[in-house]
């Protein structure tokens, strides 16, 4: 379905909505006259056409409420709708951070409770709920790392990152003023312990580990890694983006991590991918607690809750106020509904679902690291490469069957990678349907490769020329102001 730009529907005789004459008393001042615009650069379109335009656009979207979304690393799982209702309760959604603290004790109670739950889940001593995204949590963690070393009179400038880590990690490290140094994986897809030890020089501030890593594999020598890192005087940071594989089963604090961030939108079912703001709480051990962002929630003498701004060692504020509060409500609702037994089943089901796909597809698709996986599995499209098929062709063909494509060409250590994360919310029937489709695509790769090369066939637009689109970027929303 082709949908024209709304500006092409512009017609001078049409208008959308009718605003009555103002009957507000003159003494109520409006905006200053010089700030009022008389002519607005908006298309004149009839109201029903406006509504249809945007509704029609909206149905072109793929999202997890429409279909399976096995986008590796991103954990596009289904979010229970009851969380939305709870976050929308007027007592939560109507709050303003500037109102007197005595009038939002309930909200503070929820935050304080959530901090305690995250401590229990991660095995850490203290949590800040302030960071507004996973990457923001990483930056917060790196600032804490810097403050820790500085307090010890120690200047360190390098942070180590395995080549199987999340792509945001090096960027966060550089943003924090550190130099990022890659650490290679071994033949089992885990951190090469000997290579790590060689890199652990006295100027290393931290090792940043994604566990399980982006190959979906658990770092099973994490105890030895933690010992080596701590012996070198560095901190061990965990990117907790894959925590849906561990929650209720294993705790970063017990593995020897000093800092861990959580992605509420990946593990604790808050909206993801344009559905709402992110949230990336950071948990630390007791020694690092003084460095957490300002302010901290504390119990006042009269037993009520308030904010503690008197924390001289803090790295300062990481957010204007106290974090993306509505996300915290959703996460608290999710944890409360599942309880500890339910959270454990989240991780077990995430692992079971990924291993089901691994077992069912490994005869057809090359599995470079053939091992029990955690929440996701990374195949290579090399088996299909004989007829010139690449990962992108398989991904595009999946769209024809109503699936979102898996992550492709990442992690970089797998050639033509197909990174599949089914998530814990999918049923066996959904996974079986996906397996059938993947096996059909494998047959097509051998028998009718042109079907893959030209895919997708059933989508509103077919294969896009992504190179030209990137080289001659045109994001104008009005056809008459196109600039090439």
């Amino acid at each position: 379905m082709s949908i024209p730009l709304i500006f092409t529907l512009d017609k001078p005789s049409l208008r959308c909505g009718h605003i009555p004459e103002s009957d507000a008393p003159d003494e109520i001042p409006g905006p200053p006259d010089e700030l009022l615009r008389r002519e607005l650069d908006l298309p004149r379109v009839a109201e029903p056409e406006v509504v249809r335009h945007f509704v029609n656009l909206s149905v072109l979207n793929h999202h997890v409420d429409r279909g399976f979304y096995p986008l590796g690393s991103c954990t596009m799982k289904y979010n229970p709708k009851v969380n939305e209702s709870l976050a929308a309760l007027p007592g939560f959604s109507g709050l303003h951070p500037h109102q007197p603290v005595s009038t939002y004790q309930g909200a503070l109670n929820l935050m304080e409770t959530l901090e305690r739950w995250f401590c229990e889940i991660t095995g850490m001593a203290a949590v800040t709920l302030q960071p507004a995204a996973g990457s923001h949590g990483e930056l917060t963690g790196m600032f804490i790392t810097h403050a820790y070393h500085k307090a010890r009179g120690d200047r360190r400038r390098r942070v180590l990152i395995p080549d199987s880590a999340h792509g945001t990690n090096p960027a966060s490290i550089v943003m924090a003023g550190y130099e990022s140094v890659p650490v290679l994986s071994d033949a089992r897809g885990r951190i090469d312990l000997e290579a790590l030890k060689r890199e652990l020089t006295p100027d290393v501030a931290a090792l940043m580990v994604t566990n399980p890593n982006t190959l979906g594999l658990f770092e099973d020598r994490i105890g030895e890694i933690a010992d080596a890192v701590h012996r070198a005087g560095a901190l061990l940071y965990m990117d907790g983006a894959n925590m849906n594989a561990l929650v209720g089963l294993a705790r970063p604090g017990d593995m020897g991590f000093d800092i861990v961030h959580l992605n509420l939108h990946k593990t604790f079912s808050t909206p993801h991918g344009g559905g709402g703001p992110g949230s990336g709480p950071v948990a630390v051990n007791a020694e690092l607690e003084p460095f957490l962002p300002l302010p901290r929630i504390r119990h006042l003498e009269d037993k009520s809750l308030g904010w503690d701004w008197d924390r001289p060692d803090s790295i300062g504020q990481m957010h204007t106020f106290y974090g993306n509060f509505a996300m915290l409500v959703r996460a608290a609702a999710y944890i409360r509904a599942l309880g500890s037994a339910g959270l454990k089943r989240v991780a077990e089901t995430a692992i079971l679902n990924a291993n089901y796909l691994r077992a069912m597809l490994k005869d057809a698709y090359k599995l470079p690291y053939d091992d029990l996986c955690m929440h996701e599995v990374v195949f290579s499209a090399d088996n299909q490469g004989e007829k010139g098929i690449k990962a992108v062709d398989i991904a595009k063909r999946l769209l024809d069957f109503g699936y979102h494509a898996p992550t492709i060409n990442f992690p970089l250590i797998v050639h033509q990678a197909l990174m599949i994360e089914p998530t814990e919310t999918e049923t066996l029937e959904t996974l079986e349907g996906f397996v059938r489709t993947m096996l059909q695509i494998d047959r097509e790769a051998r028998e009718t490769p042109e079907v893959l090369h030209e895919a997708p066939h059933n989508t509103p637009v077919s294969r896009l020329d992504e190179a030209t689109a990137a080289r001659q970027l045109d994001i104008c929303y009005r056809p008459d102001v196109y600039v090439s």
Binding site: I408, L412, H415, A467, A470, R471
Partner: protein, 130 residues
């Protein structure tokens, strides 16, 4: 896969062509074919010092972005300005029109630490690339 015998190579898939005290740097045919259609390239300015093994820029393709690592240390004496408008030159002509920067060699001995064409060919065969 084209691997000119007279060039020197890095394990990160850059090539180096020495011309007296100067050298030209680019990415290999293998690198451009693995990256696919290149859409943007970020290069240093003339006069900047690059350091062997350290990042000096980045290349962005449709499927991935990658850092560029300097094969040798030295001052940048020229930058391929055509790549701003036509990054596809790297895909079309990785060893000629798609060159990236020219460097005045600060430590000529570094050239000896680079891979020969034969060693580079072995490297990409081992990595299982096509």
């Amino acid at each position: 896969m084209e691997i000119p015998s007279e060039l020197h190579y890095t394990r990160d898939h850059e090539w180096l062509r020495t011309e007296g005290e100067e050298a030209t740097v680019g990415i290999t045919d293998y690198a451009q074919s693995e990256l696919g259609d290149i859409v943007y390239i970020e290069l240093p300015e003339v006069g900047v010092d690059v350091v062997q093994g350290k990042t000096f820029g980045a290349v962005e393709a449709v499927k991935a972005a990658a850092d560029l690592f300097a094969p040798v240390s030295g001052e940048v004496t020229a930058v391929n300005g055509s790549l701003d408008q036509s990054p596809e030159l790297i895909n079309q002509s990785p060893y000629d029109d798609g060159w990236l920067i020219k460097v005045r060699l600060a430590k000529p001995g570094e050239v000896e630490t680079l891979l020969s064409a034969d060693d580079y060919r072995k490297l990409i065969e081992q990595s299982g690339g096509d």
